[in-house]
Symmetry: C2
Subunit: 335 residues, 2 copies
């Protein structure tokens, strides 16, 4: 009999701290697999801001709220230990949407389950340069914000998992990059490790004033944050600029919608395009993105710093670290 | 010696009423033409909401504010009476950006000056089904909002010049159309004369509640208004919906930016695309748009109701009619 330890969502969180008030750790025997199901011994969990929305009671979000009492949902990387789907035999390493648990049980099609490439030296890169954050960054920078060589790309939450990849992808595509992050340490990381052209510390600097120094304005903006950062960038866009809305971290801790940008009228005045995207919509295109990402990874042009926490019991703390921006790079939990 | 009567911008307007406080009527002798200039005896003036922005001191608008003391700028239709550009000989009827004047003097390239097709029975159609409002509607509906047959298109300010054309173009392209306008008379016009599928009177009805009845949500929105109407539509968009921002009438009477839509986060949640456009950017494509518009006009599928005022001295009153939405259809002034 396999035992499973997991985090259960007991109440809708308030704010982005002290998730132990809303989640509880449980252990119980795994139910027998239903037809088509696959069971995974989880090696790493990925901490993603997008999942914060699922904890909210809001019904106008990405998808219906996770019912209270459910196992908390998140991306997992691990090895199949039991399977009723021959495409995922025991022993293969897989990645997909599972649970915050040491043993995850999934329906492959619903989980977006994929067998990962074992030739990658550090398997954590399946949550890094080859993972969903990287797909998100590639789709957002190259397809939605449609950045072109020589243009200026701005990236918010630039020291985070997705933002740090977006900065590098912009640079790899020939753009000049402005990274916006909170704190001097993150800005040093942006300049020294990611090679951005300009780093703005939104905690210490006037973002709009700094952006006004971008010659010709910002052509493309990869936004993870929304709120005042989006406002500051909208006021400094070039005509015909494109904004890829990847996330709205600034609003995730609230059960009500965040107000729209005060500079929204610049959409008309400067003929901007603002487009929201959601990476699960692009899951089936992962195979198309992977070769480019793998090439950059192998060439050393797509570096990922991992912020790794040990142990299932520390998931809420790791999640809070990520949501409150105390991390640099990709927050994962090793089980 | 040719005399010219014109309206001069004396002060930046406050609000959208009583423009006589900010404009004054003058008469003086025309200066001799400078090289390349063309002089036009104006037959009709077009009243356009977009020019309201030029009267404002705001520097983050479409273009720099019109300097106080200038002749007020607007679209004119008339006959060339004197010309230093052989492409526009005396006697031809032309349309372009001139002045609120009985005699307009223009530089053709700056004015977007065009010789119009004299085979059109009613020359006013060069401000109607073949004019800039029609190009705007065609670009907005077909290219920016990218409406497809069978989809639902919503149009705000639907009984106005551009909106009424957008409704018909949507219908002609096979979409189902929701027109949003203020007042029962306008809604009757939408249903009876434009053939929309649903008309919403935003003064008397809950726009969001009515839009929630659109099966599957609104796929494409042609917005002239911004503000609460945009909010109501954003909350009722289908996933992957497109919003073409053509105007923000709700904000034109203010010297400060209008706040962004409260439902802005739906851009992310429903993966919407919001795009501003500005029809002067498309001037050079007019020749491409005209054949389609002319065909629809000749087939009786692009009707324009004209709201015609007589006399240069009544321009401020006609302008106010248009800006405050007391018109149905295209507001013009016959000189």
């Amino acid at each position: 009999m396999t035992l499973c330890r997991y985090w259960r969502l007991d109440r809708h969180p308030e704010g982005n701290t002290r998730f132990e008030r809303f989640l509880s750790l449980h252990e119980e025997a795994c139910a027998p697999l239903a037809p088509g199901e696959v069971r995974i011994a989880v090696e790493w969990l990925s901490m993603d801001a997008g999942t914060r929305m699922w904890m909210s009671p809001r019904t106008d979000g990405y998808q219906p709220p996770l019912p209270l009492g459910s196992r908390m949902v998140g991306l997992v990387l691990g090895r199949v230990i039991e399977s009723l789907d021959p495409a995922y035999p025991p022993g293969v390493r897989v990645r997909g949407f599972g649970q915050w648990a040491d043993v995850a049980t999934v329906v492959p099609a619903l989980a977006g389950l994929e067998v990962v490439d074992e030739t990658v030296a550090d398997p954590r890169q399946h949550f890094g340069a080859l993972g969903m954050n990287a797909w998100t960054a590639l789709v957002g920078v190259r397809e939605v914000a449609a950045v072109r060589p020589g243009e200026w790309l701005a990236v918010s939450a630039a020291a985070g998992a997705t933002g740090s990849l977006a900065c590098q992808i912009g640079r790899n595509l020939g753009a000049r990059v402005v990274g916006i992050a909170g704190g001097a340490e993150k800005c040093r990381f942006l300049l020294d490790e990611l090679g951005v052209d300009m780093a703005i510390d939104y905690r210490a600097e006037d973002v709009s004033a700094r952006l006004s120094q971008v010659p010709g304005g910002v052509h493309a903006f990869f936004d993870n944050v929304g709120g005042p950062i989006l406002d500051a960038v909208l006021g400094n866009m070039a005509h015909y600029g494109r904004v890829a809305i990847c996330g709205m971290i600034a609003g995730y801790d609230s059960d009500v919608a965040m107000p729209g940008p005060a500079k929204f009228d610049q959409v008309l005045m400067r003929r901007l395009r603002i487009e929201g995207f959601f990476i699960p919509d692009f899951l089936e295109r992962g195979a198309e993105f992977l070769p480019q990402l793998r090439t950059w990874l192998d060439e050393g042009r797509l570096a990922v710093r991992f912020d790794e926490t040990q142990g299932l019991e520390n998931v809420p703390a790791a999640y809070e670290r990520m949501l409150t921006g105390r991390n640099i790079g990709k927050v994962i939990v090793r089980l």
